[in-house]
């Protein structure tokens, strides 16, 4: 594949082809997957924004979630970091591992202690089905359905939240709940699960442990004060049980990206508020039995402070932290060669430009540099080393590189990028909506070009395969700049989300046009939602408030 024709380096699948270095992490990951007994630490990758943590997670998930026969693994393990990386890709005999990825930076739901678990459960269900495993979460599903039922959700609404293969089970639970007769409820659940799992009734009872006492305990719980806080526990309990069944995979991997999104730009929160943000995650991780083969891989800018948390403390010994550092010059060179930038002087100039320290090349800057060269080439301009001879201050590099890049793209695209920087996430539909309203020429080819830039990321949500977001480094840069297009885009987006009755999202865009108006509406809507016990809206608004830092 010729990147010149695609204009992209680090985006999505293409980026994985140019993924460079990180052999040490790859080897460590492979050891976690293949060593016996399974290591019981959480693998936590941390490092500055743009250092390639998300790409590393994508890479590990897509290329290295493989388990080898012990004899093959013993041979592989003796190889050096670099050799192992190549060898793993070549070995054809392996067992694929079910995985799920949750990107906390995707949207407020991905950080929500109710919806994020539901997403994770859904992703795991889908991953298991693909590999012909059967994952059942009886306690979690029941508690979750009961919570949604208590929150006034209809049967149809609830069914859409679970994986398709669970539809019948969820329907049965809902019908039984409607009759408020626990014996019927249990009989229905057991009968359905028996059908699915092929277990005889007595064994199903024993295995599920959904007895009268437990069900009554759940039903007696206050949904918003107690039940919702127990969901991570039951999720973990069910997953632990899954991993102990005879037909379970020997490993599963849970990936969590953008851990820092729980706090956004807030750095000085009081202790309780700080630790509240990722409390459900700590509870989940505390309750997972990693010795059963559950592997947890997390990426975030900062090392976790979980050892200091007042609730669900996770000690430092249970976490393997790894600093994701910038690329070495040698690896940066390989990256540029992979991207078909072969002129030696230009390579050296780009590496110098993208360096943060001697022999430390910032992957995000490097990918932007490459984007600039390739975009210019597409316009018939060949850039050389002299074009990158003047190196700006570190904090100006993103701005300078983006401005250069925009110089080599059509005005329409430049306009579109400014407009899209107002979006938290966008898709094709939103792109065309903005194009119509702001009168830029939004076409499928320009959309393809934009979504292939290195600063545009595929959204990491299985629910919205075609979602994108502009890299946080760049969005932050654009937020600091006054730009008429961006402000107009916020206005269009506000109206767009009002039509869709997504009030929290509308408030977000209202705030960026007029902070006082945004906070005023937030207050009105939040107080009403709190009075009406609309917990979902309350939680969503809280997350919007955290993101806007007010």
């Amino acid at each position: 594949m010729n990147p010149e024709q695609n204009g992209s380096l680090t985006n999505g699948h293409l980026a994985l082809q140019y993924f460079t270095n990180r052999h040490q992490f790859t080897k460590q990951f492979a050891e976690y997957l293949n060593d016996s007994p399974p290591p019981t630490k959480i693998l936590f990758f941390h490092g500055d924004g743009g250092n390639g943590k998300s790409l590393l997670l994508k890479f590990l998930r897509e290329k290295y979630c493989k388990q080898f026969l012990p004899t093959i693994w013993q041979q592989l393990k003796t190889q050096s970091h670099d050799e192992l990386t190549t060898a793993i890709e070549k070995v054809e005999q392996y067992t694929p591992i079910p995985t799920a990825l949750l990107d906390f930076g995707h949207n407020e739901q991905s950080r929500d202690h109710f919806y994020s678990l539901l997403m994770l459960r859904r992703h795991l269900g889908i991953a298991a089905k693909k590999l012909k495993y059967k994952f059942k979460f009886p306690h979690y599903d029941f508690a979750c359905v009961w919570y949604l039922h208590q929150s006034g959700k209809s049967k149809e609404e609830i069914k859409t939240l679970f994986p398709p293969e669970e539809m019948e089970l969820i329907g049965v639970i809902m019908d039984a709940l409607a009759q408020s007769f626990w014996a019927n409820l249990i009989r229905s659940i057991i009968s359905t699960l028996t059908k699915y799992s092929g277990l005889h009734l007595g064994l199903a009872w024993q295995q599920l442990g959904l007895d009268k006492h437990w069900v009554e305990q759940i039903k007696a719980m206050n949904p918003d004060k107690a039940l919702i806080n127990q969901l991570p526990h039951w999720f973990a309990q069910d997953l632990n049980a899954i991993m102990q069944t005879d037909n379970a995979p020997s490993r599963i991997v849970l990936f969590f990206d953008t851990h820092d999104a729980f706090w956004g730009h807030e750095h000085n929160l009081p202790q309780e508020s700080f630790f509240y943000r990722d409390e459900w995650l700590r509870q989940l991780l505390s309750d997972l039995e990693l010795s059963t083969g559950i592997m947890v891989v997390i990426a975030g800018r900062e090392e976790p402070r979980w050892a200091n948390s007042p609730k669900f403390m996770i000690s430092q010994e249970k976490i393997e932290t790894q600093l994701v550092w910038p690329l070495s010059e040698a690896d940066a060179l390989i990256y540029l060669q992979n991207a078909d930038i072969s002129e030696t002087d230009l390579q050296q100039a780009l590496i110098q430009y993208a360096s943060v320290k001697p022999n430390q090349v910032h992957p995000f800057f490097l990918s932007l540099c490459a984007d600039v060269v390739l975009a210019a080439k597409q316009r018939g301009t060949t850039l050389n080393a002299l074009d990158f001879a003047t190196i700006p201050e570190m904090n100006l590099k993103s701005k300078e590189l983006t401005n250069r890049l925009l110089r080599y793209v059509d005005k329409e695209i430049e306009y579109a990028i400014h407009a899209l920087s107002a979006c938290r996430t966008f898709n094709r539909e939103l792109y065309f909506t903005l194009g119509d309203a702001l009168h830029f020429n939004a076409t499928p080819p320009t959309f393809e070009i934009i979504t292939q830039f290195s600063f545009v990321w595929h959204s990491q949500s299985e629910e919205s395969e075609n979602g994108y977001r502009i890299h946080d480094l760049l969005r932050r840069l654009y937020h600091q700049q006054r730009n008429v297009t961006k402000t107009e885009a916020h206005g269009i987006l506000e109206q767009h989300y009002r039509k869709q009755e997504k009030v929290a999202e509308a408030i977000y865009h209202s705030y960026y046009q007029n902070p006082a108006r945004g906070i005023e509406e937030w207050n009105e809507v939040f107080i009403t939602a709190d009075n009406l016990r609309n917990e979902t809206l309350c939680r969503t608004l809280q997350k919007i408030r955290n993101e806007l830092v007010f």
Binding site: D224, K225, N268, P270, Q271, E272, S273, Y276, P310, P515, A516, I519, E520, W522, N523, F526, I527, D530, C538, Q542, R545, F550
Partner: protein, 214 residues
């Protein structure tokens, strides 16, 4: 509201309202520790508006509502020093905060400062018995709090290695180490209404912490 034209103050006030509403929300969910932080944030925002616009009635009213809420929610485990200023000592007495006479008997140490409210509590750190004395006084815009610690019983000086730490809700904790053979220790702090702090006393492996809200 007529003076309330500056956008900065308006945003500050609205942020206070957002924090107050969030405090109510977390209090309803039983997450009192987070509610407390939100209420403190609300009070700080209203206080900031008050500095510029002292006649802004809605900010003043909200400030009072938040203070009442803090007392309602936290009075039972925090020592609410604001109540002392209103001459209410029922809950303080229940929590062991007594008059100086009740703690020291006739041997009350000399403590300067007129018109200040003084209460003391016996602190047991293993075999060592100490008295923590709170000396509070309302100033124009803040409350002065003098924290003193004395030996009790036959001891005439503080034990060696006694650590005394004042921990604010936000910001760094200040740790003091008692000087050898010193008869007492004191430190003065200034707080605003609604602010919270803790005092930790540590001797070897024994620790006692007292939590306060103004």
């Amino acid at each position: 509201m007529s003076n309330f034209t500056e956008n900065q103050e308006r945003i500050g006030f609205l942020k206070g309202k957002a924090a107050q509403a969030s405090g109510n929300y977390f209090a309803r969910l039983g997450r009192h520790e987070i509610a407390l932080e939100e209420y403190q944030q609300a009070l700080a925002a209203y206080e900031s508006v008050y500095q510029t616009l002292p006649d802004f009635a809605e900010a003043q009213k909200n400030k009072k509502t938040v203070r009442d809420k803090l007392r309602e929610l936290f009075g039972h485990w925090f020592v609410v020093l604001g109540k002392w200023l209103q001459n209410e000592f029922d809950k303080a007495t229940e929590a062991g905060w007594l008059t100086l006479e009740e703690i020291f008997g006739t041997a009350i140490p000399a403590m300067p400062r007129k018109r200040a409210i003084k209460r003391a509590k016996q602190i047991d750190l293993g075999t060592e018995k100490l008295a923590l004395v709170m000396d509070i006084k309302e100033l124009t815009q803040e409350i002065s709090v003098i924290l003193r610690i004395y030996p009790l019983g036959k001891q005439t000086h503080l034990p060696d290695n006694l650590k005394f730490t004042v921990i604010p809700t936000s910001g760094e904790a200040h740790e003091y180490l008692a000087q050898s053979h010193h008869p007492a220790f004191e430190t003065e702090w200034f707080y605003k209404h609604g602010e919270q702090f803790s005092v930790k006393m540590q001797l070897n492996d024994m620790t006692v912490t007292e939590d306060f809200v103004i």
